[in-house]
């Protein structure tokens, strides 16, 4: 496990050449990748959400594409469409794949797209295939969608409904950098010199093998039961939660905990991994009731209460 820990430490160092701080965000993005799933990054503008995803994709020898969501974006702009092409004097329909046909898809400001466009993306995320007309096109593996959204400027946006937000394994909250980090950012990006050169670290095969390895990380039965109990309790905690998380959250929590254990170089899943992953797994899967909102509580506060109850 030492060698895998070294690999990830090198990866973080390479990302660190471009992105200052935000270690927890980077770890969680990697957890989503190792779990072969998708992540939703939420944070105020200018916190290096897009930069982080772009940097991670640069480190991986994977096809990257970006979708800037706007209200006038159509589903065909994402999935692709048929266009008429002339070849040897003959005109025929040819399928032009959309930006979704990539390994890492960055969907910027996903809450700006209309529900119809969102559903086209979310269908591809779930099925890992796209149907255009009467033809189905399978997406290349590995396939990740890393979406971003802005918690402010909600006017004219289409918030993801809970059923669709459930498709994302993690909802990663991006916070402001510390004063020391901000000083470093300023020094790095206001000085002379171009962007740092990054070396490619992973290719498709490496990522597939890492994903397989992550699934093999062993977990003790009582830790597994505790993880399930955490998700289960969200359904019974009627004092603060209106709707709890689904069994998909239990699967996600254990997979994410395994991914985190692998990244940190541990050869087993710890309770610490489960607790750390509970927040990004559950925060977009629970709906708080009026009592919690009246007390000014956020999803993270309620999750913290649950974790304190379930030791």
């Amino acid at each position: 496990m030492r060698k895998y820990k070294d690999v990830f430490e090198t990866l973080f160092k390479e990302v660190g050449k471009v992105v200052v701080g935000q270690e927890e965000m980077i770890v969680q993005v990697m957890v989503a990748i190792l779990s072969d799933s998708h992540a939703l990054l939420e944070g105020y503008p200018g916190l290096a959400k897009t930069l982080t995803i772009r940097t991670i994709s640069d480190l991986m020898d994977l096809k990257f594409s970006r979708i800037q969501n706007t209200p006038d974006l159509m589903p065909s702009d994402i999935t692709g469409t048929f266009i008429i092409e002339e070849e040897r004097g003959k005109k025929e329909f040819k399928f032009q794949p959309g930006p979704i046909f990539a390994n890492i898809v960055l969907a910027d400001e996903i809450n700006r797209a209309t529900p119809k466009t969102q559903s086209a993306l979310l269908e591809a995320m779930q099925e890992k295939q796209v149907t255009v007309g009467n033809k189905t096109y399978t997406l290349d593996r590995p396939f990740f969608v890393l979406a971003t959204q802005n918690p402010v400027e909600q006017e004219g946006t289409y918030p993801l409904p809970e059923a669709q937000a459930d498709r994302f394994l993690l909802k990663i909250k991006v916070s402001y950098p510390t004063a020391a980090e901000e000083l470093e950012i300023v020094e790095r990006y206001t000085g002379s010199g171009g962007p740092p050169k990054l070396r490619t670290m992973f290719n498709k095969e490496t990522i597939k093998s890492l994903q397989e390895l992550a699934r093999q990380v062993p977990i003790a039965d009582d830790i597994k039961k505790r993880a399930i109990k955490i998700v289960f309790t969200t359904r019974d905690y009627k004092q603060k939660i209106e709707y709890g998380a689904s069994p998909r959250a239990s699967i996600g929590l254990i997979n994410a905990a395994k991914g985190r254990a692998l990244i940190l170089g541990r050869n087993h899943v710890s309770n610490e991994d489960v607790d750390a992953m509970a927040y990004p797994i559950l925060r977009h899967r629970i709906i708080l009731n009026f009592e919690a909102e009246r007390q000014g509580m956020k999803e993270d506060d309620v999750i913290r209460e649950l974790l304190d109850k379930i030791k």
């Binding site: 093999q216 050869n267 710890s270 309770n271």
Partner: protein, 268 residues
């Protein structure tokens, strides 16, 4: 040693340790109960029944603890690893193999003696020895069993006597009633003038000698046979008992008589 043998050895060691601890605790309980039963006049061997129940309760409680968790608590380097290996015995991947190897390497530092509560168990054994000595002394010197009747008698004798009305402080007021004393004004002393109730100023020393009931058990002998009278007395009559006559001085009797006369006259 492979992992299965390792966990078997660990479980067997904890079984022995727990059994010993529970056995010692039950032993203490049994001797304490035997002494109590002896003093209460109950057969001491009956103490074995509650001891068995206590043993079972303690054993059930001890069995619920997880030996792997105990080892992990005592050895932090094995934290969560033992339980994970126990639940993932089949070597399904290189990670599991590595974890199993880690555990096998680190388990060599585990000493079972760490889990033996030396101080507690030594104290318990010393208590058992002390109790055995007490039990021996009790039976050798034939310490008398508790006499319930005597205890009840002692308690009733030590209860304080009820105060007589004459001892009430002068400013107590009657609540009224059929006797008609409620018309007496509060400022008046209902016991009359103080000169009526003056007591002698003589000091008297009263000495009460305690009666001894020492019995030497060696002096106890068989009672002598005695013939009782067969016939009833021929004449049966009663006489005034002198004891029932109050030996109150004439002047004191007159005092009380005049006092009540005065109260009645004032009422008129």
């Amino acid at each position: 040693m492979n992992l299965k043998q390792l966990f078997r050895t660990l479980n067997a060691s904890f079984f022995s340790l727990n059994f010993f601890e529970v056995f010692v605790q039950a032993g203490v309980m049994m001797i304490v109960l035997a002494i109590i039963f002896y003093l209460l006049g109950v057969k001491p061997w009956l103490a074995i029944l509650p001891t068995i129940a206590y043993f079972i309760v303690l054993w059930v409680k001890k069995s619920q603890s997880n030996p792997l968790l105990e080892v992990e608590r005592a050895y932090p380097e094995l934290h969560e690893k033992l339980r994970t290996v126990n639940d993932n015995m089949a070597p399904t991947s290189e990670i599991v193999l590595e974890l199993q190897q880690d555990v096998l390497d680190q388990i060599s530092s585990v000493e079972i003696s760490t889990f033996y509560e030396t101080e507690k168990n030594t104290k318990r054994i010393m208590v058992i020895m002390l109790l055995c000595i007490i039990l021996l002394i009790i039976s050798l010197f034939n310490v008398p069993k508790l006499n319930y009747e005597k205890i009840a008698e002692t308690i009733s004798e030590s209860l304080p006597a009820i105060k007589s009305p004459g001892n009430r402080p002068p400013d107590d007021v009657f609540a009224g009633g059929a006797s008609g004393f409620s018309d007496i004004s509060v400022t008046e002393d209902i016991y009359g003038a103080q000169t009526f109730a003056d007591l002698d100023e003589q000091q008297q020393e009263i000495k009460i000698n305690s009666l001894g009931y020492d019995i030497n058990i060696r002096d106890i002998k068989q009672a002598k046979p005695q013939n009782f009278e067969e016939g009833f007395p021929q004449e049966i009559f009663s006489e005034n008992a002198e004891v029932s006559q109050d030996k109150i001085a004439k002047e004191h009797q007159d005092l009380v008589k005049n006092y009540f006369k005065k109260i009645v006259e004032e009422e008129k």
